[in-house]
């Protein structure tokens, strides 16, 4: 009924007027990850702020699976009228296509804006014989094949991030893939795997309480929330940096005026005090790269990871 009326209205006003009035109906944001996860939660927080900024309601559609490729592939069919957007992290766009055949490439979408970024971390139990990132890597190198590390699943950015570091130092560990960071954390806390590998947010309270020693982050810089963890730059591995970052993309062919409106709205909301505070709570920092610059960042990361995947023997 409502659609019918809107359809009639659009017919009367013509399409250009509709773009000037954008947005005039609810927006749907596809999140290629399960409800309640890190990408989902940050997209939900962002969408509540965006609703106020854009003056329309926003619905989240979770389409999880295949390391994010299921939801992104599904989003390929979305209409490019500005009412369908994709909120994703980098792994489905830049990492998964290296290891799985996908129907999309980094340039299959109109880049809107990146929102936030963080690193992955590697943590061990308090009684692990290492206190610094350097000691940690030395211990792993001295005992090939002895330690197990839990990761988010085969073929994701987290695994790639860890394998890059291990390869650079000639380290051999046993990778145990889990269904997500929560599951990895459970098995790490229970002592079933020796090393937690995953995003910072779930393990942060345990690091603060001294139940986990987070000794390494996969960014070049150290992360303030994890004071004991070394950045890769401190260890001379700055080139092996792998980040976890989030972005909003639109379907190919979306009108530039709409993209500009979205960029403006995202720039305001991502840097708003509420969002920055939320990000700090989950160990992330705001990071806004927009438009063509974002497209270059995606393509650059894709090309760099293609080389890494090739040299690690993980490429499809």
């Amino acid at each position: 009924m409502k659609t019918l009326m809107l359809g009639a209205a659009a017919l009367l006003l013509g399409t250009t007027a509709a773009q000037a009035d954008y947005p005039e109906r609810p927006i749907e944001i596809t999140v290629p990850a399960p409800a309640g996860g890190g990408t989902d939660t940050s997209a939900r927080m962002l969408s509540t702020l965006l609703e106020a900024e854009l003056g329309t309601s926003i619905a989240i559609l979770n389409a999880a699976g295949g390391g994010g490729s299921v939801g992104v592939t599904q989003f390929m069919q979305a209409r490019n009228d500005g009412y369908s957007l994709l909120a994703t992290w980098n792994s489905p766009i830049t990492t998964v296509p290296q290891m799985q055949p996908t129907a999309y490439a980094p340039d299959s979408f109109v880049p809107v804006a990146s929102t936030s970024q963080t690193a992955y971390t590697l943590c061990v139990a308090p009684d692990f014989p290492a206190e610094t990132g350097e000691e940690f890597l030395a211990e792993l190198a001295a005992n090939p094949g002895r330690y197990t590390y839990g990761n988010d699943g085969i073929g994701g950015t987290m695994q790639l991030a860890a394998e890059r570091i291990f390869q650079a130092r000639g380290i051999e560990t046993v990778a145990v893939p889990f269904g997500g960071a929560g599951e990895t954390l459970q098995n790490f806390l229970g002592g079933h795997v020796d090393i937690y590998g995953g995003s910072i947010s779930p393990v942060l309270p345990y690091a603060e309480a001294g139940e986990a020693k987070c000794l390494l982050v996969t960014s070049a810089e150290a992360v303030p929330a994890l004071p004991q963890a070394a950045g890769l730059g401190d260890l001379g591995l700055g080139d092996e940096e792998t980040l976890l970052w989030r972005m909003v993309l639109a379907p190919a062919g979306t009108d530039q005026a709409i993209v500009d409106r979205l960029i403006a709205a995202l720039e305001t909301t991502v840097t708003s005090p509420e969002y920055v505070e939320f990000l700090a709570g989950v160990g992330e920092v705001p990071n806004v790269v927009t438009g063509a610059a974002l497209g270059e960042r995606l393509q650059g990361e894709f090309d760099a990871l293609a080389e890494v995947a090739q040299s690690l023997g993980l490429a499809q």
Binding site: T3, S57, A59
Partner: protein, 145 residues
């Protein structure tokens, strides 16, 4: 067909399905292939067992698959047609149509009652999904106007 004949067909079908799955699973590397391979072979064995058992001692009694073939056929065809129309006509239009057509096809001859029930039902669905949950549903050609 008798229960015996049905079970023979069912057994052979499952045996075929199991073998197809096992054959497909042979192409998967390492441990990720072993498990479906074993399952496929297991299903094939069980299917063959069922077929053989029915051949040996199956009950030669009729067991109808449908009680009322015409009603089942109507429901399945209209149901499939409805699903095919959802992306074309949009969810609400297709649903309203099926709510009117299916009862009539099943022999319901009180058009006013059917219309009122369909209208009332569509209002409830609209209130729940579009009003309360704000969930975008397929709009079909309406949004392409």
């Amino acid at each position: 067909m008798t229960a015996r004949g049905q079970d023979i067909v069912l057994g052979v079908l499952f045996a075929g399905l199991g073998l197809a799955a096992a054959w497909q699973a042979m192409g998967y590397r390492g441990a990720s292939g072993t498990y479906p391979l074993v399952l496929g072979l297991g299903l094939a064995t069980l299917g063959l067992l069922l077929a053989l058992r029915s051949l040996w001692s199956g009950a030669r009694v009729p067991r109808p698959l449908v009680d009322h073939p015409r009603h089942v056929a109507v429901t399945v065809v209209v149901g499939a047609g409805y699903l095919a129309l959802v992306p074309v006509l949009g969810f609400y239009a297709a649903s309203a149509l099926v709510a009117l057509v299916l009862p009539a096809a099943l022999g319901f001859r009180r058009p006013v009652f059917a219309l009122l029930a369909a209208a009332g039902f569509m209002v409830v669905v609209w209130l729940v999904f579009t009003g309360l949950l704000a969930k975008p549903l397929p709009t079909g050609f309406w949004s392409r106007w």
